[in-house]
C-alpha cells in the first residue's frame, strides 16, 4: 500500500523531500559539531580535575589524551574543598554563594522596583530618568573602579561582604530590562487594580511582579554570573580571607613561576556548579523571556 502511495508521489515532491532530509542531516551534523566544540573544553576541564599530576595535565594538553583519564582521583577536590586552614577553598566557595545570593536577591527587588516605577510610576521626568539610566549603562566599570574604592574605604566598608554586594545591586542594564518588560504589559491591568483601590506598591507586588517571571529569571542568571565572576573588585576591596570569593582564591594557583593546573581545574569545576544550578533552575523562564522578546520584536 505504501509502495503504491510512494509510486504516485510526483518526482519533484520526492526530490524536495529528499533535499529537505539532506538539509536536516547537514543541520544536525553542524549542530553536533558546534555542540562538541562548546562542550569539549568543559569536558577537558572535568577530566583534568580528575588527574593527580599537574605536569601530566600540561603534557596532555593539545592531544586527545586531554579527554581521557586512566586513573581518576578525587584528591584535587578533597584538597580544594576543605573548609579550614590557610587555603580553605570550601570557605571561599561559601563566601561566593553568600555574595551571589545577596546580590541577586537584593538586585531583583531594587531593579524591578526601579523598572516598574519608570514604566508605570506617576513621577515627573520619568523619560529623563530613563535616559539617565540608559546613559549610565555605557560607562565602563573600570573607569569608576578606583573612585569607588576610595568611596567604600572612606565609608569603612572594606573587607566585608557588604562592599561586594551593595555597589552592584542597582544596575542600569537590569533596571532597563525590567522597565521594558513592565512597559509591555497591558495598561488595563494597572488601571483595573488602581480602580480597585490598590496602591502602586500593591500593584507592583501582587500583579506585575508575579507576571514577570521571565524577566526575573533573566536578571537572576545574568546578575548571578556577574556576581559570581567578580575578580578585580574583591581583590581591591578585601584585605583578608574573611569575605573573599572563590574567583580570587583560584588565582593563587596561577603563581609567578608555576601553575597548579590540577587544583585550579578542580576548583573551577566546583566554581561552575552553583552557577550551572542557577541556570538550570531558571532555564525555562530564561529561554521563554528571549523567545518572548524575539516574538514581540
Amino acid at each position: 500500500m505504501s509502495d503504491l502511495v510512494l509510486s504516485t508521489t510526483p518526482l519533484e515532491v520526492e526530490r524536495e523531500r529528499s533535499a529537505v532530509g539532506t538539509l536536516r542531516l547537514v543541520q544536525t551534523a553542524c549542530i553536533l559539531v558546534i555542540a562538541l566544540v562548546i562542550i569539549s573544553p568543559l569536558f577537558m576541564l572535568l577530566v583534568a580535575s580528575l588527574k593527580d599530576d599537574r605536569f601530566q595535565i600540561l603534557a596532555d594538553m593539545g592531544s586527545f589524551r586531554a579527554f581521557w583519564v586512566s586513573n581518576p582521583t578525587l584528591s584535587n577536590f578533597a584538597e580544594v574543598g576543605n573548609l579550614s586552614g590557610e587555603l580553605a577553598y570550601g570557605r571561599y566557595l561559601l563566601n561566593s554563594l553568600i555574595i551571589l545570593a545577596c546580590t541577586v536577591g537584593a538586585g531583583l527587588i531594587v531593579n524591578s522596583m526601579a523598572g516598574f516605577v519608570l514604566a508605570w510610576g506617576s513621577l515627573r521626568g520619568r523619560a529623563l530618568m530613563l535616559s539617565v539610566v540608559i546613559a549610565l549603562y555605557v560607562i565602563p566599570q573600570e573607569s569608576i573602579i578606583m573612585p569607588l574604592v576610595i568611596m567604600v574605604s572612606r565609608a569603612g566598608m572594606t573587607d566585608t561582604f557588604t562592599v561586594q554586594i551593595v555597589p552592584w545591586v542597582a544596575s542600569p542594564l537590569y533596571i532597563f530590562l525590567f522597565y521594558q518588560f513592565f512597559a509591555q504589559l497591558p495598561k488595563e491591568l494597572f488601571e483595573a487594580a488602581e480602580m480597585d483601590g490598590a496602591s502602586v506598591f500593591r500593584i507592583y507586588r501582587s500583579i506585575f511582579l508575579p507576571l514577570s517571571l521571565p524577566a526575573l529569571a533573566t536578571v537572576s542568571i545574568l546578575m548571578g554570573i556577574e556576581a559570581w565572576n567578580q575578580y578585580l573588585w574583591p581583590i581591591l576591596v578585601t584585605q583578608t580571607d574573611y569575605a573573599r570569593p572563590i574567583a580570587v582564591a583560584i588565582a593563587t594557583f596561577f603563581g609567578q613561576d608555576s601553575i597548579y593546573w590540577d587544583r585550579a581545574m578542580a576548583a573551577s569545576v566546583l566554581m561552575m556548579i552553583p552557577i550551572l544550578a542557577l541556570y538550570l533552575a531558571f532555564q525555562r523562564w530564561f529561554v521563554s523571556s528571549f523567545v518572548g522578546s524575539a516574538v514581540k520584536g
Binding site: G85, I235, L236, T240, D241, T252, Q256, I259
Partner: protein, 430 residues
C-alpha cells in the same frame, strides 16, 4: 534559671576579657603574593611569630600575582597601605620615589643585614640616597638549560662556567642543528608562555640587549630614545624575531615548561632558577645547566626578585621589622625555599643550599650573580619602561617591524619621564 543566668554572665565576661585582649594586640598587616605553597608557608610563619609574640597579630593580605599592582594602587588610593609588603625589586625605586617605603636598616636585625649578598643589597638599595629599603631571603637568575641527549647528538660544546659561555654564533648554530634532531619539536623554550602580564620579558630578555651592547634606557642620561632603539638593540631583537619566525621557539600558545614536559619536546630552555627542581625531577641526569650565551661583547644575566619592605604608613615599624627579621630566620620558611630551589640572597642560606655551592648543579647560576648580573633600571619610571618594552617585544614576536616597535617604546618611556619632570632628583644625575 539563676545558675543559667550566672553562667551566661560568666561566659560574657570571659568573652569580653578575651575580646579586650584581642583588641589590645598590635595588628601588623603583611601584603604578599605567591602560589599555594608560599601562601601556606607565610601563614605558618605568621602563626609562629604570633606564638612567640602574643601581643601581636599578623594579618596576611594576599594579592594574586597578576593583579598585585592593581591591589597596591588601590591600597595607596584608599590609604590602606599594609605595614609590610612584598615587592618586586625593580619597582622599588618607584615606590621609594613616591614615598611609600621607609629605610629598613634601623628596623632589621644587624646579623641579617650582615648576611646579605652583594646582589641582595643592590636589589634593595635606592640609588639616590643609597639607603636600603628592602631585604629578602632570596635573589634570582636565569640560566640556559640543555638536554644532554640532544646536545650530544649535535656535538655541542658544554661550557664549564660563565667565562666560557657560548657565543652568539655558537648558540644560533646549535639552534639550527637542534631543529633537525629527531624528537626536538622546538630547539628552545624562552618561556613566552609567561605572557606580558608578568615581568618575564623585561627580566629575561633585557640581558640579551645588555649583552649585545645596548640597554632598555641610558642609565646616565635616563633617555630611552637613542638607546632602546639603537642598532645593537634592533639587531638583538631582529635576531630573536628570526628564531621565532624559523619556528625555533616554543610558541606562547604551547604554554611553559616544554623543556621538561613529557617527551622533552624542547632541547634548550632560557629559564629561571625556579624551574630546576621540576626539570631535574623529570630529566634526571639529562639536564645540563649552562651560563647565558654572550650575544655581544660581554655576558649579562638578570637578578632581582620579590623582597620585603616596610611602608611609611606603618604605625609600628619596629614590630614590622621584627616580623621581617623573624621570617628571614625562620627554619621552616628556609626549608620550603630551599626545596623550591630558591636562589640565595643571604650568605647563610647560600651555605645551606648545596644546589648553588661550588660543584652544585646550579653553581653556574650563582656564579652569574657576581660576574654578569645587571639589575633592571633602578628608576621611578621602571613601570613605564617595562610596560613599553614588553609591548614592543610582543609586537616584534608577532611579526611587527623591529625598529618601529622599539622606537615607539623608547618614545613612550621618554614621554613618561618628561611628564614627571624627569622624576627629580633623578634628572640631576645626568
Amino acid at each position: 534559671m539563676g545558675n543559667r543566668l550566672l553562667s551566661l554572665l560568666e561566659a560574657s565576661a570571659a568573652l569580653g576579657l578575651l575580646m579586650g585582649q584581642a583588641e589590645a594586640n598590635t595588628v601588623i598587616q603583611v601584603m604578599h603574593q605567591g602560589d599555594p605553597g608560599w601562601v601556606s608557608t607565610y601563614g605558618d610563619v605568621a602563626k609562629r611569630f604570633e606564638a612567640a609574640n602574643p601581643d601581636v597579630d599578623i594579618e596576611l593580605i594576599y594579592a594574586p600575582h597578576d593583579a598585585y599592582n592593581e591591589k597596591f594602587s588601590a591600597a595607596v588610593m584608599s590609604k590602606q597601605l599594609p605595614d609590610v609588603m612584598e615587592l618586586d625589586a625593580p619597582f622599588l625605586a618607584n615606590y621609594v620615589w613616591s614615598g611609600y617605603l621607609q629605610p629598613i636598616k634601623p628596623l632589621i636585625e644587624q646579623d641579617i643585614l650582615d648576611d646579605m649578598t652583594e646582589s641582595n643589597v643592590a636589589q634593595g638599595t635606592y640609588p639616590i640616597d643609597k639607603e636600603l629599603y628592602a631585604v629578602g631571603l632570596t635573589d634570582s637568575s636565569v640560566v640556559l638549560y640543555g638536554n644532554r641527549k640532544y646536545l650530544e647528538a649535535i656535538g655541542a660544546r658544554i661550557p664549564k662556567g660563565v667565562d666560557d659561555a657560548w657565543t652568539r654564533e655558537e648558540f644560533e648554530g646549535y639552534l639550527d642543528k637542534l631543529s633537525k634532531v629527531e624528537g626536538v619539536k622546538w630547539p628552545i623554550d624562552t618561556f613566552r608562555g609567561y605572557g606580558i602580564k608578568t615581568e618575564w620579558i623585561t627580566y629575561a630578555y633585557g640581558p640579551i640587549l645588555q649583552s649585545a651592547g645596548c640597554d632598555l634606557i641610558d642609565r646616565k642620561s635616563w633617555k630611552a630614545v637613542g638607546t632602546l632603539d639603537s642598532d645593537p638593540c634592533v639587531d638583538a631583537l631582529t635576531m630573536m624575531q628570526r628564531w621565532v619566525n624559523k619556528g625555533w621557539v616554543v610558541p606562547q600558545s604551547s604554554g611553559t615548561n616544554q623543556f621538561f614536559a613529557e617527551g622533552h619536546p624542547a632541547a634548550l630552555a632560557f629559564g629561571g632558577h625556579w624551574i630546576y627542581a621540576e626539570a631535574a625531577a623529570s630529566m634526571k641526569d639529562d639536564i645540563v645547566v649552562m651560563p647565558l650565551p654572550k650575544f655581544g661583547p660581554k655576558g649579562a644575566s638578570p637578578n632581582g626578585t620579590w623582597i620585603w619592605g616596610i611602608t611609611t604608613a606603618s604605625e609600628h615599624p619596629d614590630i614590622a621589622g621584627k616580623f621581617v627579621s623573624f621570617m628571614l630566620k625562620d627554619k621552616q620558611y628556609r626549608d620550603y625555599a630551599r626545596e623550591d630551589s630558591a636562589y640565595p640572597g643571604l650568605k647563610s642560606f647560600a651555605a645551606d643550599s648545596p644546589l648553588y655551592s661550588t660543584g652544585g648543579p646550579m653553581a653556574v647560576a650563582f656564579e652569574q650573580a657576581s660576574k654578569t648580573a645587571i639589575a633592571r633600571p633602578p628608576h621611578p619610571a621602571y613601570p613605564a619602561i617595562t610596560s613599553a618594552f614588553m609591548g614592543a617585544v610582543d609586537e616584534i614576536f608577532n611579526g611587527g617591524d623591529v625598529k618601529a616597535a622599539l622606537s615607539a617604546a623608547a618614545e613612550k618611556i621618554d614621554e613618561d619621564i618628561e611628564e614627571n619632570d624627569g622624576y627629580p632628583p633623578f634628572d640631576e644625575q645626568q
